[in-house]
């Protein structure tokens, strides 16, 4: 770091002329989807923060000067989605000369075809839901007569939001002087990238380090014919070109669930097709059950579980969309659905073709690029490929925008000379239905399995939104928060919330996990009254630890924060990789990644 700083000391004069200062950049609102992933290292960071900041102001103003070795860049990032963006910003902050290659449009899936536009649609659906809920309105003393909506205006809102966030993202990188190179990037050799039109990469650059951040595309199982009009993926659905009377949603993970919220609010009826025996398979079972009661049963939704959609034919010649359902186990034909439209929400597949991985002896696993816990790419022989990293959906570790960004920052930390490992278990995930669902860490069955293997006990406590003043004031008492923890050490293993603004509430828990804060400490933190945050306050206060005397007799596991977390990480990684191998060709959303793929925001 010191060397990096020294390299750019000569720059300040140029800096002020060239670009805005760090604080100006901050005000630009660029942290759209990102998350600072410094959690584990925060202590060491904090010590030197003031000094670092001063240095950074100077360095950040200019996009570094290429380090020694005669490379064109210190860092080249392939893919300008949220992951690449997060990495680029942090790299400039660290004084690295950075370029980002984008073949499509800046912002990637999250900004253009994912979290961002879907939040615009969900904002509309939330309001429609409220306005249509006579009982709710009446109990608040409000009278509203028959609310309606203009489909095109709703669609425009989503599109405008995406454009706005995209230009914010682009500007934030331009302002810092990140070189935005247009074209598809291909790795042609060690530390060497070519880019240009697809198939004609005519420009070549060298880079000391390369990050692959190419993201993912919607996964469409075979047998399903997508026409973009009556059978479509989330890419098309977000344009809201139509609101069908009856739409089948294939896959009941978070993507399907969010769209069911949008469509039912706008007047559609929905049929879920789910390959597993339970709806919402990625969620904690108790949360899934309650979610079914709150988000599915009272709405105009029915469902078929334990079935594959083996064949889907788009509507044509006056015939409706036909969906052939077969039993997930026996493969027997079960039923044919006739609906007006079908949304394929069966997960996302990595977008890693044409990257030239064969040039460096890297073999993808079902498209995913294998990486180690430091996001370093592994070659076919299991060895680390030096100076090559892969972050975000392309590595499949945790398909969430903010996870990609955190991984990118973690990589930049490493190439700046500070070892950094991201604790994936501290990364929250959220589903923006009404009410919202959020989670961090392990589900109860995962925690029980881990507890069984490692020989400790777990406890579970729950609090209800019905007991929260603010929730009741809003007349939104549906929901629970659930804490899974170790009664012997007070370690927080997982927190799951279903209820009003759950996505905003989860961060107290995810920060606690990231910082290693234990239940016995966080329970004394004060929460403003009356706020929804008190749901978590009550949750932490409800947790009972084993009495000290009892603990003395027990072998007390010593617990410096990072190590157990790493174990958990390894455990999850192994869990994921085994599941991936067993993955049905059809259902790509396995528990855990299912909910989290590309979720939000």
């Amino acid at each position: 770091m010191n060397t990096a700083a020294a390299a750019s000391v000569s720059a300040p004069a140029v800096a002020s002329a060239r670009g805005p200062t760090r604080s100006a950049r901050r005000a630009g609102g660029i942290r759209v989807c990102g998350l600072r992933g410094d959690a584990l290292e925060c202590r060491s960071l904090r010590i030197s923060q003031a000094a670092v900041r001063r240095a950074v102001v100077a360095r950040a103003a200019e996009n570094g000067v290429a380090g020694s070795g005669g490379f064109d860049y210190d860092l080249v990032i392939i893919g300008a989605g949220v992951g690449g963006h997060g990495a680029a910003l942090h790299a400039v902050e660290e004084g690295l000369k950075t370029a980002i290659i984008e073949g499509d449009i800046v912002g990637g899936t999250c900004v253009n075809r994912g979290c961002v536009p879907s939040k615009a649609l969900l904002a509309v659906s939330g309001r429609m839901r409220e306005l249509h809920d006579d009982h709710h309105m009446k109990s608040l003393g409000l009278q509203v007569s028959s609310p309606g909506y203009d489909r095109q205006a709703v669609a425009d809102h989503a599109n405008n939001l995406a454009s706005k966030i995209r230009s914010n993202l682009t500007n934030s990188m331009k302002a810092l002087g990140v070189d935005i190179l247009t074209g598809f990037g291909t790795i042609v050799g060690k530390q060497k990238v070519r880019y240009g039109k697809v198939g004609f990469p005519d420009k070549e650059i060298t880079a000391r380090n390369i990050i692959i951040a190419t993201g993912s595309v919607p996964f469409v199982p075979k047998g399903i014919e997508v026409d973009g009009k009556t059978v479509f993926t989330s890419d098309h659905a977000l344009k809201l070109e139509s609101v069908p009377d009856w739409i089948a949603i294939v896959g009941s993970g978070y993507i399907g669930l969010e769209f069911s919220d949008v469509y039912t609010a706008l007047g559609s009826e929905v049929t879920f097709v789910e390959a597993l025996d339970q709806l919402m398979p990625g969620f904690d079972p108790e949360i899934a059950k309650l979610a079914q009661r709150v988000l599915i049963n009272p709405r105009k939704i029915d469902y078929h579980t334990g079935v594959f959609a083996s064949k889907i034919t788009p509507a044509k010649d006056g015939k409706p969309v036909l969906i052939e359902l077969i039993d997930a186990k026996t493969k027997d034909h079960k039923e044919t659905l006739e609906v007006d439209a079908a949304l394929i929400a069966t997960g996302r597949a990595p977008f890693t073709k044409g990257l030239g991985l064969e040039n460096i002896n890297v073999v993808t696993q079902r498209g995913f690029i294998p990486v180690d816990e430091r996001m370093q790419v592994m070659d076919a022989d299991g060895n680390v490929v030096p100076n090559l990293y892969c972050i975000g959906d392309a590595n499949g570790k945790l398909m969430l925008a903010h996870a990609a960004s955190a991984q990118g920052i973690s990589v930049v930390e490493q190439i700046s000379g500070r070892d950094h490992i991201l604790n994936h278990l501290s990364i929250p995930a959220a589903c923006f239905t009404h009410p919202e669902i959020s989670m961090v860490g392990l589900t109860e069955p995962q925690a029980r399995e881990k507890a069984g293997k490692e020989g400790f006990e777990i406890s579970v406590v729950k609090t209800s939104f019905k007991a929260n003043t603010k929730a009741l004031a809003e007349n939104e008492g549906d929901g629970i928060a659930k804490l899974i923890y170790r009664p012997d050490t007070g370690e927080i293993l997982g927190v799951h919330i279903l209820g009003l603004h759950a996505a905003d509430l989860i961060h107290e828990a995810s920060n606690a996990i990231a910082l290693g804060t234990r239940v016995q400490d966080i329970k004394y933190a004060v929460h403003a009254h009356p706020t929804l945050s008190e749901v978590l306050d009550e949750l932490f206060k409800a947790a009972k630890l084993q009495p000290r005397e009892e603990l003395k007799h027990k072998p007390k596991p010593s617990r410096p924060p990072p190590q157990p977390l790493l174990k958990v990480l390894t455990f999850i990684t192994s869990l994921l990789s085994t599941q991936k191998q067993n993955r049905q060709p059809y259902f790509t959303e396995e528990p855990l990644t299912n909910l989290r793929k590309g979720s939000s925001h």
Binding site: S146, S464, K541
Partner: protein, 461 residues
């Protein structure tokens, strides 16, 4: 649990909101549902009512197995209500002899879901009893030693599915359909289940013959009509005997004779009600009734025609009434009464509908106060629901006019451009006191009213 029962919030928690976990401290047992019988040796465990809205519960799982020894307070079964899952615990020591409703199935609140005995020897007896339950769940249990059961009869048999009148002569039972498919939208399916309508008996009107929600609603609405003629065929009256007037009949009689002193005349009018019907359909879910809509429309028209809202009592003078109070004739228990919607022009349609419901309930319970039935300034009498297309009403003394409303019916009409069209039309006939209200007054009033009814958007403000 401790968190759930946090003191400051405990009062806010309805029982349904408590998310229970197994094995909570005994001290909190008092808040749990006890669902056991006390009197008999073979005790029945009932499906408890876990929330005020719960009508049936689903057994999530049996915590105890048949033959298990249970201590007072042990959880026996987890029940899923419409709101949450809850543990149900036993109130007595004993053995779980027989499970009557297996996990995954539902049972109505109050029905027996398991049998509990005091000693192991009684288990076979209880199990044979259980067999009788399952063979004929609707038959009363054998009397044996459980005499106390008479107090709480076994669950009523599930109501038989209401057969729905459709073109098919005799709708075959679903079982015979075997592989036949019914294409019905998710909401239509939900409604069919709630309204107990057989989807196989409905012809869909949606795209490709799909059954949609309105088909189910129409079928459900049509169903009760079929059953009404049976009881209506022979009213239960003592034929051939002379009955003295009841108080209410006496009052009606007196008023009717008195009305002969008033010189009345009648003016009829036909309204097109397509727009009104559409509005009604849209807001009836919010509790709005046709009666309230008509009362509101009449009140709004009366604002512009105060003379029709006036009354003449002594034959020498008349009063422009200061408020518009719409009386609506209803038949109650053989009598006739006219609950009054006061200031119907000023109150919004939703409040008016609520007020009307309240008045009808009070009238049924014979709790109407005098000012609630004799302060009307204009009366509506509606026989449209019986299919009556037009009739003639007698003017209640002390008021200026009464409007007789017939049914809204599909009618072949000549349209303005000289074509033939079909519209919903309703005939009304107003009887008025000619001492104060003249033909032109009524005609102008009816014209205003027809404008309001044919463009009813102002009825909802």
């Amino acid at each position: 649990m401790a968190g759930l029962l946090h003191l400051q919030s405990a009062a806010l928690l309805s029982p349904a909101s408590l998310l229970r976990r197994r094995g909570v401290a005994p001290g909190q047992g008092g808040r749990r549902r006890r669902a056991c019988r006390v009197e008999a040796k073979i005790r029945e465990i009932f499906m408890p009512a876990l929330s005020s809205t719960m009508t049936e519960g689903k057994i999530v799982s049996w915590t105890a197995a048949e033959g298990d020894r249970l201590a007072k307070g042990d959880p026996v079964v987890v029940v899923e209500s419409d709101k949450a899952d809850m543990d149900v615990e036993t109130f007595h020591d004993g053995f779980l002899a027989a499970v009557l409703v297996p996990a995954g199935e539902s049972a109505p609140v109050g029905s027996a879901i398991a049998l509990l005995v005091e000693s192991e020897e009684e288990i076979p007896a209880a199990q044979s009893k259980a067999a009788s339950f399952s063979s004929s769940s609707s038959a009363p249990p054998p009397p044996q030693e459980t005499a106390a059961q008479a107090a709480t009869p076994p669950p009523p048999p599930p109501p038989p599915p209401v057969p729905v009148a459709v073109s098919a002569p005799a709708p075959p039972s679903p079982a015979t359909h075997g592989g036949a498919r019914v294409v019905a939208s998710p909401y239509a399916r939900k409604l069919a289940k709630d309204l107990k309508v057989d989807l196989f008996a409905i012809t869909g009107s949606g795209p490709g013959g799909r059954i949609v929600a309105k088909d189910v609603e129409a079928a459900a609405a049509a169903a009760p009509k079929k059953t009404t003629p049976v009881p209506a065929a022979r009213p239960n009256v003592p034929l051939g005997s002379t009955m003295p007037f009841t108080t209410i009949q006496g009052a009606v009689s007196k008023n009717m004779v008195e009305s002969l002193t008033v010189p009345t005349f009648r003016v009829g009018y036909t309204f097109t009600t397509d727009a009104l019907d559409a509005l009604y359909k849209k807001i009836k879910g919010k509790g709005v009734t046709m009666t309230a809509l008509l009362a509101k429309a009449a009140a709004m028209a009366l604002v512009q025609h105060p003379v029709v809202n006036s009354s003449c009592r002594d034959g020498k003078s008349f009063t422009y009434n200061s408020s518009i109070n719409i009386a609506v004739a209803v038949v109650i228990d053989g009598g006739l009464i006219t609950p009054v919607l006061p200031d119907a022009d000023k109150i919004d349609i939703y409040s008016l509908s609520r007020k009307w419901k309240e008045l009808v309930d009070k009238a049924r319970a014979k709790q109407l106060q005098p000012h609630e039935y004799n302060s009307g300034t204009f009366t509506i009498s509606n026989l449209g629901m019986f299919g009556v297309d037009r009739f003639d009403a007698i003017l209640p003394p002390g008021t200026g006019a009464i409007m007789a409303v017939g049914a809204s019916q599909l009618t072949l009409v000549g349209t303005k451009d000289g074509r033939i069209g079909i519209k919903n039309q309703m005939q009304v006939n107003v009887t008025a006191d000619h001492r104060v209200i003249y033909g032109a007054d009524l005609a102008a009033f009816l014209q205003t009213l027809s404008k309001i009814i044919e463009d009813p958007k102002n009825l909802t403000f």
